[in-house]
């Protein structure tokens, strides 16, 4: 009824390698994209600049982490550090007088180099050991940032980002920032959608499932792991730079600390490893729900006229949010993306599948 299909069947290789195998999915994606483009005109600016914009940038970042963790199966606990490399190198490059377009790419490349440099050392070990090595990278980066005023920008380690300008156009309005974030997020999403149907994507999945089995099949697992780290670090670097350029307006070490790394990982895991739509959901849950629940609890207590201590009031949302994560992972361990997938698969042939039973 919704999807007008009796199931997904392919009669040619071309139809099998389509980006969207179900027309309804494609239509939905196009519809969402249109809403995204129209958002500045239909949403109040509060939602635009303090919810949607960070959501889009963090989604782009989470997709990058999903590439290395979800697709290539390498646990990464130092993702925020890579974002920091991108952010700081891009800002410093702009401050030297280089235009933002080039600076963003330089930021991405710098992150890519540092990220894969660590990957070289890290990839001699696997699993939890790799996770710990990437965590070490995070700490090294934290230390470098707090101990080198030339990088971190002096007083209380905050480095101001120059005004974002793309294609000769200064960007200062909420809508402008939003479109930059949307553009980057869409670009990363398209890249990830395509990754699924290329040899590279399949090689990464092979490496994830069993790296020596992949080696037997002729997939050089070391090469693909490095490639995954480099690509994901590039995405991280540009996302980090854009986060500072369009949202924080100045970079500080706390914005890229170890708990941020863990948050991004949580976004990916709650959203679903290897799921693109899941990353969108995961980021929304981890990033936005605490603030929203907080607002709800505050409004509720005001409406009910309860005299709740401010400290208690602050802890209730945390408990609700924690419970929410546990409940979601108990209902569907594969994350929100899989939850969405289940509903979609059920509706795919509904209600005609009922006839068969």
């Amino acid at each position: 009824m919704f999807y007008r299909l009796s199931g997904v069947y392919h009669s040619s290789l071309i139809s099998d390698s389509r980006m969207f195998k179900v027309p309804a999915d494609r239509n939905l994606a196009v519809f969402l994209l249109l809403i995204g483009l129209a958002a500045p005109f239909i949403l109040p600016s509060l939602y635009l600049n303090s919810y949607i914009l960070p959501w889009l940038i963090w989604t782009a970042a989470a997709l990058g982490l999903n590439l290395v963790t979800g697709w290539a199966g390498q646990l990464h606990l130092g993702y925020a550090a890579v974002m920091a490399v991108g952010a700081y190198s891009a800002i410093h490059t702009v401050r030297l007088g280089v235009p933002w377009e080039i600076a963003l790419i330089i930021g991405g490349l710098a992150a890519s180099v540092i990220g894969s440099l660590f990957a070289f050392a890290a990839l001699r070990v696997k699993g939890l050991y790799l996770a710990l090595t990437t965590l070490a990278m995070q700490f090294v980066m934290d230390w470098v940032l707090t101990h080198s005023p030339t990088i971190s920008g002096g007083s209380h380690a905050s480095l101001q980002a120059p005004t974002l300008a793309l294609l000769g156009q200064q960007i200062t309005s909420d809508a402008g920032y939003y479109y930059v974030a949307l553009g980057w997020c869409v670009l990363v999403t398209i890249f990830m959608l395509n990754l699924k149907r290329t040899g590279l994507g399949r090689a990464l999945v092979a490496v994830r499932e069993k790296d020596f089995a992949a080696a037997i099949l002729g997939v050089n697992s070391f090469y693909y792991k490095i490639l995954a780290f480099a690509a994901s670090s590039f995405i991280a670097g540009v996302s980090g730079a854009l986060l500072v350029a369009t949202f924080y307006f100045l970079a500080a070490p706390e914005q890229f600390s170890v708990n941020v790394s863990i948050q991004v990982l949580a976004m990916v895991i709650v959203g679903g490893l290897g799921s693109i739509i899941g990353s969108y959901f995961g980021v929304a849950l981890i990033l936005l729900v605490p603030g929203l629940v907080n607002g709800l609890v505050v409004t509720a207590s005001e409406e009910l006229g309860m005299q709740v201590n401010v400290e208690t009031l602050a802890h209730i949302p945390n408990a609700v949010y924690g419970a929410l994560i546990v409940i979601i992972l108990m209902i569907e361990p594969l994350g929100l993306g899989k939850l969405y997938g289940n509903i979609r698969d059920y509706l795919m042939t509904w209600p005609f599948d009922q006839l068969r039973k």
Binding site: I42, G154, Y248, G291, V310
Partner: protein, 416 residues
Amino acid sequence: MKTKRKVWTIAIAAALATSGAMASAQENEPIKFGLCFDLSKSYAFITPQVAQAAQDLAMYTNENGGIEGHPVEIIVRDHGNEPQRGVECYEQLKREGVFIYNFLSTPVTNAALPRAMKDGNILMQSFVGRGDAVDGEVFGWVFPVGPTYWQQAANDVAFIKGQMGGDLSDAKIGFIYLDYPFGQEPIEILKTLAEKEGFQLELYPVPLPGSDQSGAWSKIRRDKPDYVISWLLAGGHAVASKEMRRNGFPIDRYLSVNWMNEVDINNIGAEEAKGVLRGTNVAGGQDVPIVKTMLDTYYANGKGSGPESLVRDVYYNLGLAVYTTGFEAARLAIQENGWPLTPESMKSGYEAIENFDANGLMAPVTVTPQDHGGGGKTRIEQWDGANWVPLTDWSADYIDVVWEVIKESSAKFTVE
């Protein structure tokens, strides 16, 4: 297709309606103070006291006629020390008509500062954020009333100079600090002063979160500094006191940054802590008239904004200090420029504060368009086993040296 268009029109109309309602300025609104605090994570050791102080003070002000007849409203929100949520809180309260903010967290205030500067909103930033923000010529909208860490460190050195007979040329001063921006901030000024006064400066970095200090203190035992200036926080003081006992360093030579409260003293042990020194710009204890008023009017009848135990904490006094100053600024602003209060008039209200000490609550502050810190006066207090006893008068020293550092740092900031 037609229905779709209809839905769109309705959605657009609804959105326009809500945003229009938000934008309409209301007359006779209360004066709103936005407190976006970290009530659940790293800063939870201080924020409940400060929020409670602000609420008590607002209650007291409103019951006594408000600020020039206008009521005050305190809006408290939690941001969990996450910059993203702090920005969200800022943007949300901005639309509720708030233009006076306090974030009380260095990472979050840093994230909100560019927005406040761009929008022209008042940012109360006492004790957190970048130190060079006291430079009112650069940071026009930021009001970090109180001493910067630079000024505090300079005042500490001046105190030690006084204790050592006015000559520091043979002195050795140790500096133990948490090895991240908070603790590193005073180093530059201490180095400058070491050169100027000729004392020997020894640095003892301690890794976060300050629970492992054994290396630093065994080095202190070897170096034998005359005084140790400490930029540690919360639990760090208790660890330091144990190490001092183990290494035979007298606790009355331990001079702490303003972050040491009754909880820390209890953790060290009231008797064990006897003699410990603290630099502060706020008088501790409950003998201060305004704290007494709060205890008598509200807490004696169980009507306070929170538990009484939080009142018996120097950070409650600190909260009162921050908000009496803010209220005074609002009063001066309305007196001079009339109602309604705007960010511009609030700014000039702040800059008109002269020799204000909230009836003995804190060091007198004089805010000027150049100096948003109010002079940076502090005094040194000593714990006598039950109370904090002031050893010096409110004063600020080496002002020119400190301002050189401030100017050098603030020159790098431009409003984008």
